[in-house]
Amino acid sequence: MMQKKLIALRTPGSRPLLALMTVIVIMLMLLLAACGSASSSNNSGSIDYSGTIVIWHGWQGAYLQAKQAIFNEYMHLHPKVKIVLVHQDNIASKAATAVKAGNGPDIIAFTDDNLGSLALGHIVVPLDQYISQDDLNQTYSPAAASALVFNGHVYGVPEAVEAITLMYNKSLVSADQLPKTTDDLLAFAKRYQQTHPGQYGVVWPTEDAYFNAPWFYGFGAQYVTPDGKAHLDTPQALQAMEYIASFRPYLPKQPTYDVVSSLFAEGKAAIIINGPWSYADYASGGKINIGFATLPIVNATGTPAKPFVGVKSLWMAKTAKNPALVADLMKFYTNKANQIAMSRADGEIPANSSAADDPAIQALPAVAGYAAQVKLGLALPNTPYMSALWTPVQNALTAVWNGTQTPAKALSDAQAAATKGIAQISS
């Protein structure tokens, strides 16, 4: 009886349900279709100084205050313009979703290595008619200028640059003891450990692709070229990998960023290779008297080790309503006076080359220290293929550091993995 009733219930009941499901499916599909139909219109000519500009950014604390001051000044100059700063985490992926749905920002502020994939996904759009490549090259330092160009188009302006450099604890090592070449550095690490048991001469996260780029590029290797070819199986890459592996006895076995950073902060490491973001942590309260030096010269090639220069950039999003105004704001934001003011307020390294060379900036030891290293570095590749390299390189470094693979085997596996990843990007 019960059974029968249940079955009887199910059959007629399923028709409204089916109809309902169809309605839901159709509604969701309409929703998806609506997401793809956003477009923006370009109108060149004289600038209309009115409207709202929304900027998505990841700035915090002192950085945000310094930048807010510049935007306030712009709003003061052009009272009809309203600039809204919106803090976002995971800017790249959020922007991708929002712009496709038609409610993205006008400007996206992020590091240059994301430019390639955002440009290919039409999340950010070129600004060539407002800012030319010549403008970029004249105004900004070379690495910074090159980071804003992708496939021959200009996508925005650089605001600040950063690179890892050699930072040392002045109470543990004096300037004349500093290693000048890669062989010196290895010898220094060995000697320091002998004279200071339980402490370390030099530390850096040896399993991280970003922190080891100086060695790879200094030895003449490269991770990936813009045409989408990985180059991890070259003899130069092998040399770099063997050099890194030769530090295994003189560094911790698990040298994660947190571990090496706290070693330096506690005075248990004389030298660290690290970037501007870490300076305040070490220097605040006069804890450590920090000196700066550029990374050593690679003996094998005679060229200095070349770190990646991360370029903090402002790009125009596809959803920008007034491109001419956006470009004007970008130029204003990165002019010499404003860049100097920003750098003095938050200690960032200005991308504007005349600002970076200004005596007021050169007088700041930290900014001058990183700026010297930036000149020797190369822009963090903005090709989307780079994203296929980080994990394989890191895996190879980890396998070598753990001793599970030889440098040659680790690199050939990484080459294969990277090639596979690149193929997935272009497929």
Binding site: P384, A399, K409
Partner: protein, 313 residues
Amino acid sequence: MLRVKRRTIVAFLLPMLVMMAVINLWPILYTLYLSTTNYSEFNSDNYRFIGLENYRQLLFSLDSDFFPVLWQTLLYVVVCLVCFLIVGMLTALALNNPRIKGLPFWRVILLLPWAAPSGITALIWKFLFQYDFGPLNQIGRLFFGQQFGIPWLLNPTLAFIAVVIVNVWLSYPFFTVVILGALQSIPGELREAARIDGAGPWQYFRHVTLPLVTPALIPAAILSAITTFQMFNTVFLITQGGPVVSALKPGATEFVMIYMYNRILGASVANPHYGFIAAFSITLFALLAALTYLGSGLGTRLPELSGFREART
């Protein structure tokens, strides 16, 4: 008898059914659809239907990670389950012994790991296992000299053991509780009868305790097997799926959920192929559903167990 029209019933159920459809059914159907496309981050505008190509690549291509990952996940499940059962049984037997003094205290202590948030527990264990500065190795160095060090999270086998230890530490109290409940429902007369028949402690355990506890254990074990199979947070916080043995192979503790996460949202994944990962998760879903079905049959169909249950009632 109250008579209600079927249409009225449907109307009342409708809001709930809509919720079910939107929240439960739609993602599953959408994943099923995704698994037959080549949808990825970069071609989200122009992806297309590719049939079962993703499944072919997953199950039949030579460099597929599917079987290694599945194998190490199953191994993890089996090893963890065995440890859960042994540790849970031992602690439950100890707690069930009336001769132990301060029983409430010991009960709280033994159940404590269960109450601790797993994320925090995982991070504490991660620190304990750290090679250079972790307390485990530091203590070892006091006894065996400066050169001593167990590469807990650096060696593939040891890392596997480490995440087993953490999971056992986190989960055995659940088994303690379940087994303890079953133990306490064993009537005292059985013990007396067994003693009169001349059964020793082992024989009593083997022939009286174990058969009576097993029916309670089977659902718990199935439940645990599924949660362990889908284990993510604890292991990910400790190893991120590592240690890496090669750029071409999955890490030694890269279990299915971690593998999927690393391929979609991982720190620097190149171009997430949502279609392929959807195929991966659908395959796992089918596998888990089949295992659960087999497992649920196990709980009710064993004849001697149901015989016992009938005898007791």
